[in-house]
Symmetry: C2
Subunit: 471 residues, 2 copies
């Protein structure tokens, strides 16, 4: 017997749940399939537990800033690793419980806790052999850490961020591979919590930063807290009695061996497309099996180039693997599948990314390279601001960093920004919203800026760009 | 001999310097008169030293939050009052030095370090008897603390915030009168730095908060850190051997006497209009001698109702006594005086106020009362959000507070906000800018909100208001 539904959703994470909620407003003929553990990547092993670990790390870091403010520790401090992890996990479990409550509210006839794979473009089959025929299918299977084969030599000491948030205590030492968002956040947090740490990267990349001066400053700044091996050769990885021994070339060109409790692979994530037999869905796929799709409709494209009845949303889509985008994509996919075949493209929000390191890294709008490619180099102005001289940042002992703003020389319209500085998560929202509203530098400078605030630093960057506009 | 100039500026504070800079672009025939100490109120005794004291206080407060994060102090901490004040003063002096550099750049022939008073509407006379005849005059004399006569009984133990920032060490105890912006910021900072503190207010007012629920929550929240006497009767103030003894009625209705090292009067500020013989300027004055003026031109109004050639800017104007507004007013006054008699009204920025307490208090746009008076009560929607449930706030142990947003029920336009919560200084900029751009709730909700950030709390408040709009 084949179950017939309007919409089948594969995956009950952020995008899948969002799609379910949107579709439910129109039809009850939905089934959501989840073959893994319930609870979103964000709540279980992503945004929330990392922010909890970072909050503890910032508290430890405050201890080091205190004396300069005139606050003296009588006999130092110690990081109680068990207490740190206990709070991280208790609060994380609380966030996960909210997701599970949402899942529990879904009627059981609309849920199937099984893995499903494509049989053909309209048919799914579950592990236990149940078949589902759906008018529309939404792929929302998420992503998982990608682990290069060379790390397997670390054996049972090879971990990904998921395992960090399962620890009962902090280890003594960790070697982190991958200075992207996840690797950078975890490295700084663990280092500030007293874990001996070394971060390995392939080149000079650091988080999502693009600007060469900002990349160099960020590397230099973080390198003061924990050693970053940016592009150094790693000659061997061995599981030994004491943990994982790495042999690598240090910054002086010398071969060094160092042993760590764990090797943490933060070398990117891959879409969960390998278990759903995506090849049977009739879609146009790239070499990594990723379906081509339209971000404004989340609609996939058939192998013959025609639009498909299949949608894709969230990290698996590989468009912008961020919670707020997964929510949007799920909403678009669920709404469109439910109103099939009638729907309109929906404008996506201005790109916005934040790394919760300290100083933070934040980007909004287009990158300088994108803007230059679109407008031509001579039609772009770049404004910059140095946080070392920013008044309020200095007051708070957070005067480190640099920011850039990119605008069109002809119209004065703000197009993008890159921030490496204190509380960038807040500053970048102001600029992302301004970019989305297509405001000019002059219009933004007419807004109120309080005193003394970090936003005055943003104003300095904007003024620096405005002074270069054609009159 | 009478010196003839285009423009005379009385006062070399924030507004005066801003006026000077704006006017200098058009004419060199300017004289700026300063009878007091150079350096702005903001840098010397206002924004900057208070933020420095608050930064030390927050550092001390972090010590108390640390254990819940898993960070244990081995043997507690102590506040080194001398070190705290040393940093506050050293950094303050640095900020003041920037102002003094600006002043030093002004040619000596355009400066007169003397007090000046009006002889007639176009003539000023300095203490030493110099006379200046000016086509236009800009009054930018600032304000100073207003001290009610009853406090004089405290004798030499009566202080204002200026004296706090002159301390070489922290005192043991202070009674603060006035729970406005200055009183609240200093009270919490001193209390967190270990000073025994009691804050006295006339009623239930707390900072600039208007919303009754938010006022009550703020009083309750701050009262957990230091006792607030909101409207309690004060029966006597006496200078004794040990300091200042206050006799007052406590919250149980009992008469209590308590002795403090100092009585800090933070009971408002008064315009510096009493030494410039403002009555001779021919202006329309109110009962407090404050000239009537047009905020969009900063032009004063003559006694006969006609527009005057005299301008007023900064705290002395009593319009919005805030640094960024003083800067704007100085700019407007300086530009208009220089281009006299040809100038256009200049739109003022959206009102924006921040109190740097913790939780912070911030307001933008119109108050609910103003909006209701303008639109009628039934045409206003109020959205609210409770910070205790906000995810990121909880992660950071800062989940205290409440916020409200006010919008027009017919158009959905955001008109005002009141925030009592973590990092309100950042959140309020987003909303102030949105108000100035006349965005609707729907338009604001289409902007990107990252995850997990406090800005998502703002979104909750906006959604709460949007759900009440007419369809």
């Amino acid at each position: 017997m084949i179950q017939q539904v309007d919409i089948a959703i594969i995956g009950a994470g952020t995008a899948g749940l969002s799609a379910f909620n949107a579709a439910s407003k129109v039809t009850n003929s939905i089934v959501m399939l989840e073959g893994g553990i319930h609870g979103t990547t964000c709540a279980r092993v992503g945004c929330m537990p990392s922010k909890l670990l970072i909050a503890a790390a910032e508290s430890a870091h405050q201890m080091q800033l205190a004396p300069a403010f005139g606050i003296q520790l009588n006999a130092g401090y110690k990081v109680d690793g068990k207490a740190v992890m206990q709070r991280v996990k208790a609060e994380r479990d609380r966030f996960v419980s909210f997701v599970l409550q949402d899942v529990d509210q879904i009627p059981t006839e609309q849920r199937l806790d099984e893995l499903a794979h494509f049989v053909d473009a309209n048919t799914l089959e579950t592990t236990s052999g149940k078949k589902i025929r759906a008018r529309n299918i939404i792929i929302a299977t998420g992503s998982r850490p990608a682990i290069p084969a060379m790390f397997e030599a670390a054996g049972d000491r090879l971990i990904v961020n998921d395992e960090v948030f399962a620890w009962d205590d902090l280890p003594k030492s960790v070697a982190v591979f991958g200075p992207g968002v996840i690797g950078l956040e975890i490295s700084q947090a663990l280092s500030r919590l007293g874990v001996r740490l070394r971060l390995f990267g392939r080149g000079d990349g650091i988080g999502p930063l693009q600007d060469p001066a900002m990349k160099a400053l960020a590397l230099e700044t973080f390198n003061k807290e924990f050693p970053i091996m940016a592009g150094n050769e790693v000659r061997s990885i061995t599981r030994t009695d004491k943990g994982v021994t790495l042999t690598f070339v240090d910054n002086e060109g010398k071969e060094v061996s160092e042993t760590f409790d764990y090797l943490l692979a933060a070398t990117g994530r891959k879409a969960n497309l390998d278990k759903i037999n995506i090849e049977a869905a009739g879609l146009k796929l790239n070499e990594r099996l990723q379906p081509a799709f339209n971000p404004e409709t989340t609609q996939c494209i058939n192998a013959d180039g025609s639009p498909s009845h299949i949608f894709i949303a969230g990290d698996v889509a590989g468009f912008r693997p961020l919670l707020h985008e997964a929510n949007d994509e799920g909403f678009i996919a669920g709404s469109n599948a439910a109103s099939w075949p009638n729907f309109q493209p929906k404008a996506r929000r201005t790109p916005l990314a934040v790394v919760f390191s300290e100083p933070q890294i934040a980007l909004a709008g287009e990158s300088l390279a994108q803007i230059q490619a679109r407008l031509g180099e001579e039609d772009v102005v770049v404004g910059s601001m140095d946080f070392t001289r920013q008044g309020r940042a200095r007051v708070m002992q957070q005067n480190q960093g640099l920011m850039k703003v990119y605008a069109c020389k002809k119209t004065g319209q703000l197009l993008g920004t890159e921030i490496f500085g204190p509380r960038a998560e807040h500053l970048v929202h102001l600029l992302a919203w301004s970019i989305q509203q297509k405001l000019t530098l002059k219009e933004i400078l007419a807004q109120p800026f309080y005193h003394p605030v970090l936003e005055e630093g943003v104003r300095t960057a904007l003024r620096s760009a405005a002074s270069q506009l054609k009159r």
